[in-house]
Amino acid sequence: MKRRSFLQVAAAQLAAAPLGLGALSACTPPPPLEWRDLALRAATHFPIDDLESARIVGARFLDGVGRDEEQLEAELAPTLARLEAGAPIEDPETWRAAIRADFEAGETRDTGGWVFAATECHLAALVALFDVGPADLEA
């Protein structure tokens, strides 16, 4: 399986959809700054390494979560905790296992029609929240 395929395909479609989102919409709350490091970690260790696709999918996901900051934090909490945990996140299999576990538990999120695991939406959301790009990772 090509690593980039699913998210890239999803992003291409979301970008072309009538509500195409290349950036965050106004209803997304400003993220806590301490999440930025976690977002960079997410971008670094994201199991799918196409950041542009991640931004598009993440933006659509965040648009669905809505305006409430507490609600956003609660939604992202499991993935934030994993990112804060340290070393295991560098193993891509950790994320693949987490995504698989989400599906098995029915922890899915409908993102622009895509049936995604909650974890992959969370990772993409962090990338989108801080608009992480290749330059951020090089820095």
Binding site: M1, K2, S5, A16, R100, W114, F116, A117
Partner: protein
Amino acid sequence: MIEDARTYEDGRVLECDVCVIGSGAAGVTVARRLMAEGQRVVLLAGGGPERDSTMQALYAASMSGVGDFRPENTRRRQHGGSTMHWAGFCLPLSPEDFEPRDWIPYSGWPIRYADLVPYYRRAQLDVELADFVYGTPELAALRGQEPLDVAGGAIESVSYHFSPPSRFATLYEEELAASGSPTLLWAHLTELVLEPGLDSVERASCAVLGGPTFQVEADRFVLACGGIDNARLLLASNRQMEPGIGNGHDLVGRFFMEHPHFYRGAVWIAPSDLDTSFYRLRRVSLPLPDGGDRSVQVQGALALSAAIREAEGLPGFAATFGARDFDGVDVDPLDPERALSVLAHHEEVGLHALDCRVEQTPDPDSRVTLRGDTDALGIPQADLHWKIRDEDLATLARGLELIGTELGARQLGRLWRSVDADGRFDWELENGSHHMGTTRMAARPEDGVVDADCRVFGVDNLYVAGSSVFTTGGHANPTLTIVALAQRLADHLLGRPYEPAEEP
């Protein structure tokens, strides 16, 4: 023999053992069996050998409720009936479809799947297929192609067999012509006339459009005119019995069911190295009962498992690869109207459009009644009010979600469904031209129109054949079950014990 009723003298009376009204899949199947056993049969074909717009107009009906299809365009008023335009999809109902399901109102047939299996075997041959082989492991072995490994999950693999498709008027033309019993073309039932006691049919009053009228007197009558007109003709035969024949409990015409279809906007994005050939149409050599084999087209599909349907209280649901092939599609990827086609530009994944269909659960308010207008024969036209429970429509969205979840859990890809601007599942209802349930089979007259022998409650020599007797419709296309039930009815009419049940 095949005769042209237009040449009859007005007022003629025909006598026979069994009068079969309608020459589609059900009527021809019953008539062939009876003719082969030496019964004197009159088979009435409500049209000629070709599609004819004047005949089609006799099927005109008004439509309300969900959907906006024209009933006269979803069936054929000609010899061979709707077999003259069907696509050939064959799949038996599942064992669970016959059982009472406490989450589906009015479910539970008075016969079981096992009772019908011997007749499914016969039906397979009637529609030019081979042995009754629908088990996924058996078909996988015969195909040499593996289904998805989804054992124990929310979805399972099933398979359709494809009839060539059999056109019953032409396929069985020689057989019907060689019989000593007449198949009458252009012959329409106008009324079933009851004996004075009102508990049996005395004769079928018939007419040619713009031509002679005639009567058929028979010991027994089989009404086989399709899921709308079986009800319509019983309701319209109301001169002696005000609510219509068999309608003492106001059930004739109720419980109309279709198979809601969803053809656009669901795509499975699969890993490029995943073998999905089991779900594509392939020719397979399948065994015949008496030896030898026959090449049959078979296609796998994804369906909700019995376990998940029971756990979540869902009706049946199945998805097949659609006819659209995304490979090589060249469109502007920035055109939002063609968003789906954007997917075609990513060659590293397999893209499979999914066509979905869902079981419609029985609802007494979904029904056929009579309207004031009459057709050219003077018979009141049908008014079809098609009503679908919200739960059935929700099953389309949930079914796809469950497939998407299962694909993710098994690392088999991702699924996308069309959504509207608010992120809600966005789909357009389409019908399957499958009309079911309007003379439903039940154990008691309070619950249905025909009994387990397909005999109309309260009328001892009148039987109904076709999908109008379906108690529930599953998600499977109905023709194979129509033919199987007709085979079973033929055994009953011949006075033979039913074939022993075959447990799955």
